[in-house]
Amino acid sequence: MRVTKGAQIVTATALLALAVAACGGSSDNTSTNSSTAAGGGAAGAVRVEIAEPQHDLIPGNTTETSGAEVLNALFVGLVDYDADKKPYNRVAESIESPDSTTWTIKLKDGYKWHNGEPVVAQNFVDSWNFTANGANAQEGNYFFGSIVGYDEMNPGEGKTPTATSLSGLKVVDDKTFTVQLKNPFSGFPTMLGYTAFYPLPKAAFESEGKLKADYGSNPVGNGPFKMSKAWKRGTDQTISTVRNEDFKEGKAKVDAVDFKIYTDLATAFNDLRAGNLDIMDQLPAEAIATAKTEFGDRYIEQPSSGIGYIGFPIESGANYAKSADVRKAISMAIDRKTITETVFSGTRVPADDFISPVVSGYRQGACGEACTYDPAKAKALFQQAGGDKMDEIVIGYNGDGGHKEWIEAIANNLRTNLGAKVTPKPVEKFATILDDLGAKKWPGAFRMAWIMDYPSPENYLRPIFGSGGSSNYSGYKSKEFDDLLTQGDAAKSIDEGIQFYQKADDLLLKELPYIPVYFYQTNGAYSQHVKNVKIDPFERVDLFTVEKA
């Protein structure tokens, strides 16, 4: 998934960088008056904060959290994720494969589109073909890269595609279809709960492979809620949905949900306190302390899928970037606890693995000594590795995303604890650093972050550290690592696969091409009007189970 809420939130972040915690602490209670919804949507609707979805409401074109939040209410996918972050079947009756390459997916009876038609296998195939077609410029396109036929549809820039559908998808009957993967992948079912894999109804298409222009403003879905009126992107500040009375799994507990669009989290938080909003799944950092005292047990804190790193170009970089011992010394000299608590006000927690706590396969403390703050040992290791005679350490970051503070804090850690010369280097946009890294022109360290696409440990390893990985900026290349991933992919079950992924993870922890610094947290809060609010690993609120208090 692309980074949370994308560039849109940049406006707010830039402003917040200027703001001096403008809405400071107060221990008053919020409005105790249960009032009707203040305008915008149906009276009594549950009101949920989102940023403006970046595109119209089309599953394949939605890779940010706000659009995904809305689509999660309108659609259900083949699988969903339980409390242990493992997939369980929803629309799917079974997802099976003898060899982790050819998957047979059977659908349950009884799921219906909002227009009354049954959900059939063809709906999934139509949807996936549409998204996988490069000519449609869908942001979720890359999710289908592992399916046979993708390369024929997307031959690369300047070449003409020889196919307009995925040859690896075959409809067997109304309730069954098969998926042929290019390579075995035992974790394939974990991908299927994500927004990009939702089906699309016949009603969405104008002709074969062509979506109706207005579908995305008023999508017909198959989920527990349906649109109550069309949403005009760029103008309407509320997306209104009502309960789908005909949902197979039963009725949702609330009649209606309004998604209210905010550009600034501080503003949304004030609206929550004023009683004009019910659920926020992301709080502004400066409001965390207030929220904890004011909301008490209506304050939510849980791990989210993001990881923040300090990365190194270990092949093409400066001498300190190339030395594994120096990287370890740097890692040990970073006071993660203080940084997460003070700089981030508790919206991050110290990282201790390359795999996030939101996926099964995470091991607490896996990083061990290397991620434990120990200035004395760090300095000894640094000098032993000759770090004190090496170049000045440069840490690049983008100046537009609120990263200055923590990078400066790390630089101070390194100066004090290692006696190293450190220069934090701001760059106007992250894209600039990525361009330079791609061209092997960036010698120094750099900040980096990752948010998962699907809850499998594999997603935290291959794209970032595998040879030829789509986001491999460190230049890390290890045959042993790649082999372990391949073995994990070919494993018989998800659990068996995890063991191989963890071994691969261990190799990284020894090498440290990136230094894991912090895990992101989900900090949310909800009003007294609602209860039973749960947030999933994709930072989506489970609106099906939310109740009125």
Binding site: R2, V3, G6, A7, Q8, V10, T11, A12, L15, L18, V20, A22, C23, D28, S31, T32, N33, S35, A38, G39, G40, Q54, H55, G134, A135, N136, A137, Q138, E139, N141, Y142, N154, G156, E157, K232, R233, G234, T235, Q237, T238, T263, D264, A266, T267, A268, N270, D271, A274, N276, E428, K429, F430, T432, L434, D435, A449, W450, S470, S471, Y473
Partner: protein, 313 residues
């Protein structure tokens, strides 16, 4: 008069062409790959990027892209954002929000600014005058960012009137005019201070003019002296200021719009500059330039109304 207006409007055409090209070139010259910025932290998906580059002519040189842009404009297509939002939608939806906000601010500015300045000038040197001066100093020294959040918290969250619901909405435009009162005031604060001081100085100067003394000497009622002679003659600098300020308010509302969650053009402009969405930036700026031109024209016309000696041929 008619010919004068026509000439002024014709002069606007080269100004518009010049500004659009300048803005287009400046946005074009921004460093970094806009599609990468769109993708955030990850490397942009090459398939997606290729399709986008094709669609938005991103691989073409500056002049070719500008040419495409002009061609589309002439055929009535104002372009879209990278995320497929037509610029025309931005015009009809977002501009009216910003326009309403600016107009509210302008009304606050005119009423409070002129009123306070007038009062202070009449009470010159007395405590009322000093209080007004101190108040304006306070307004000038509080940035919009602070006054916005503070007033939002005090009036939107804390202040409850009987019913338990705050009178001023915290955010959004769903309450009609009421939604614009607080943000309009916040946006106007700094300008109110300037205008108060301008009115005060200007009026005090006029009050000392010979013709005012003559009017008083021949026994004209005080209200008539002030209204017909003093105020009217001191209005020119204020009208000039208000006219120029309309453009500033429209283009500079980004912070206020963010704090009060008003879906106006400030936000859009900021984001589009960041993503180098040329058609959007140029489109918005063009309209802003037009507003400046028209506002200036109206101001010049008003000069003639206020001072009969001024004639345009």
């Amino acid at each position: 008069m008619g010919r004068y207006v026509l000439r002024r409007l014709l002069q606007a055409i080269p100004v518009l062409l010049g500004t659009t090209f300048l803005i287009f070139a400046i946005v074009y010259a921004l460093p970094g790959d806009p599609l990468q910025a769109l993708a955030g932290e990850k490397r942009v998906d090459p398939v997606f990027a290729a399709a986008m580059r094709e669609q938005f002519h991103l691989n073409e040189p500056l002049l070719v892209r500008y040419g495409y842009y002009l061609r589309d404009i002439l055929s009535g297509d104002f372009g879209t954002t990278f995320r497929g939002l037509p610029v025309s939608t931005i015009f009809e939806g977002k501009f009216q929000v910003t326009f309403k906000l600016s107009m509210t601010a302008l009304v606050f500015e005119a009423v409070i600014g002129v009123g306070l300045g007038f009062w202070a000038a009449l009470r010159r040197g007395k405590w009322e005058d000093k209080a007004v001066l101190a108040f304006t100093l306070l307004l000038v020294s509080i940035p919009t960012l602070v006054s916005g959040f503070v007033l939002q918290l005090l009036l939107g969250v804390k202040l409850k009137l009987g019913t338990g619901i705050a009178f001023f909405p915290v955010a959004g435009v769903q309450d009609g005019l009421r939604s614009y009162l607080l943000p309009g005031f916040v946006l106007a604060t700094v300008s109110i201070a300037y205008l108060t001081r301008l009115t005060r100085t200007s009026l005090m100067e006029t009050l000392r003019a010979d013709y005012v003394r003559t009017a008083v000497a021949k026994g004209m009622p005080k209200s008539r002296v002030l209204g017909r002679h003093a105020l009217r003659n001191s209005l020119i600098p204020m009208v000039t200021y208000l006219g120029a300020d309309l453009g500033t308010l429209m283009g500079g509302a980004v912070i206020t719009e963010t704090i009060f969650n008003l879906p106006g053009i400030g936000q859009q402009l900021f984001q589009s500059v960041y993503l180098q969405e040329n058609p959007v930036v140029v489109g918005i700026v063009t309209v802003l330039v037009l507003i400046y031109i028209v506002a200036n024209l109206v101001v010049d016309m008003l000069y003639a109304v206020l001072d009969p000696r001024i004639r345009y041929e």
